[in-house]
């Protein structure tokens, strides 16, 4: 028998945890993007506020979902950093001339080498982002009516923020960082699970790039679009 604790702290098990939590976060991010696409509808925020009000209508269930998401993020982040620290300890003495790729099918590039750095940046982004919209929605959000009922005017909060070029820049930068994290992460998550055949890996790796770019463009278009629309 393989005890679960030993399995999950093994080099392979710990990557199962990273992979499954990473895939969960990818699914979340996809849903988050699809919902937020309503920001692009030029209807003065009606669709977006209706979408946001749908979450408020969930009542306590929303908190359960939020706590679940928080748990996945913390698990992924702490496991990732702890794995990275172990990896650093595996080579206490560095090369004088840093490793240069020999090409072929190698994915040694800035995306794959800096997962812990892009990941840490995303963690920092998430703290700011949750404060910026989730917390401030409760504290400074104005009220509006959606379908005849009172709801928070999240649209006004978002549009108001993105009149400030500093926020536009910060969000755009963060989404570029996310694209780098997912450029390697998408493929890596599948390979970590062993869900890979040599026949597919080229295509999956290429798909990871397209996926990362589309996702980042979808998100970073929002602040830029709202900024330009307001100007």
């Amino acid at each position: 028998m393989l005890p679960l604790k030993r399995a999950l702290s093994s080099p392979i098990g710990r990557k199962f945890v990273m992979s499954i939590s990473g895939i969960a976060l990818v699914l979340f991010v996809i849903v988050h993007l699809l919902g937020n696409l309503t920001l692009y509808i030029p209807d003065g925020g009606e669709s977006f506020n209706r979408y946001a009000a749908g979450f408020e209508a969930l009542g306590p269930m929303l908190y359960v979902m939020e706590l679940g998401l928080l748990a996945v993020i913390l698990l992924h982040a702490f496991w990732g950093i702890s794995t990275w620290l172990r990896n650093r300890r595996a080579r206490p003495e560095r090369y004088a001339k840093s490793i240069a790729t020999k090409g072929g099918g190698s994915n040694l590039n800035i995306a794959s080498r800096n997962m812990a750095i892009t990941g840490s940046f995303l963690f920092f982004f998430l703290i700011i982002h949750v404060w910026h919209f989730r917390v401030r929605k409760e504290t400074v959000g104005e009220k509006t009516t959606v379908n005849g009922q009172e709801a928070t005017d999240l649209y006004a909060l978002v549009v108001g923020s993105f009149e400030n070029p500093a926020w536009v820049f910060f969000y755009t930068l963060s989404m570029v960082v996310l694209a780098f994290h997912l450029r390697h992460g998408f493929w890596s998550a599948l390979q970590s699970l062993g869900a890979m055949k040599p026949r597919w890996s080229k295509q999956i790796y290429a798909f990871g790039l397209i996926f990362a770019i589309l996702l980042a463009l979808g998100f970073l278009g929002m602040p830029i679009y709202l900024f330009l629309a307001a100007a």
């Binding site: 399995a7 080579r91 190698s106 055949k197």
Partner: protein, 253 residues
């Protein structure tokens, strides 16, 4: 026809012993025949050093025909040098240019401590094998040669994994100093064949555990190991090891 020769400048890691601190030393190799192997070039440099009464540069080698896995060090940031699918003993000076500066370092990994200069202790690999990279054989009368049928496709795949010569380049080139390609190849080779089945579950469990105990890093699917492997062992061996591990996690035995 006059033989063209070349001059190369070497920056070599010199370290007198496991506990000593090392440093780079500069050497110039003159009149190098471009058809020499990299190790032969070092042999000439060493003869010079011996004549001068200095300590020769220590490095490992045995077969010098690219099949034993004894040789290996990092040349300009690339394990076994820039040529793909080869070991340093099969790397020739013609892949360099006259006047090049060449930086030579030992494999760097916590699990591969330096013994001297470019020689590292790779017994961690042996301990991973001892943990489960074997099959049990019955004593008694000789079994019939073809009593266990193995399909050609399967035997070919097992052979591709078995081509690993255990040189350690995969560890050296991995940014995480992970031994996943080596361990994956050994596990895959035996998992493919019926002869490997009795120990299949225990094997992956114990070999992966030993790999962790030795202090190797965790694979982050970068694939530089595959690019430097002199035997071009595929990353799919690592995927196979993960599936074998998953199977072991849900197995009763």
């Amino acid at each position: 026809m006059a033989q063209e020769t070349m001059t190369v400048h070497l920056k070599v890691w010199r370290q007198a012993g496991p506990e000593e601190s090392g440093s780079f030393q500069n050497y110039t190799a003159e009149n190098v025949n471009p058809h020499m192997s990299f190790l032969e070039m070092l042999d000439v440099v060493n003869e010079d050093l011996i004549h001068k009464g200095e300590e020769p540069i220590e490095f490992d080698s045995d077969c010098r025909e690219g099949i034993c896995g004894t040789c290996g060090f990092v040349i300009n940031g690339q394990a076994h040098g820039e040529e793909r699918g080869t070991t340093v003993c099969q790397l020739h000076m013609r892949s360099f240019s006259d006047g090049d500066t060449i930086v030579i370092e030992p494999w760097r990994a916590k699990a591969f401590p330096v013994i001297k200069d470019l020689v590292v202790d790779r017994r961690a690999f042996d301990r991973i094998i001892a943990a489960g990279g074997y099959v049990s054989v019955g004593t008694g009368p000789k079994p019939d040669a073809n009593s266990i049928k193995v399909g050609k496709d399967v035997s070919d795949q097992a052979f591709d994994s078995a081509a690993c010569i255990g040189c350690g380049a995969c560890v050296a080139a991995c940014p995480n100093a992970s031994a996943s390609l080596f361990t994956g190849a050994k596990i895959t080779q035996l998992a493919m064949l019926p002869q490997g089945h009795p120990e299949r579950t225990r094997r992956v469990r114990e070999m992966v555990h030993q790999m962790q105990e030795e202090g190797f890093g965790n694979c982050s699917n970068i694939g530089e190991c595959e690019a430097v492997c002199p035997k071009e062992i595929s990353l799919s061996n690592i995927a196979k090891m993960k599936r074998e591990y998953l199977r072991a996690m849900f197995s009763d035995s």
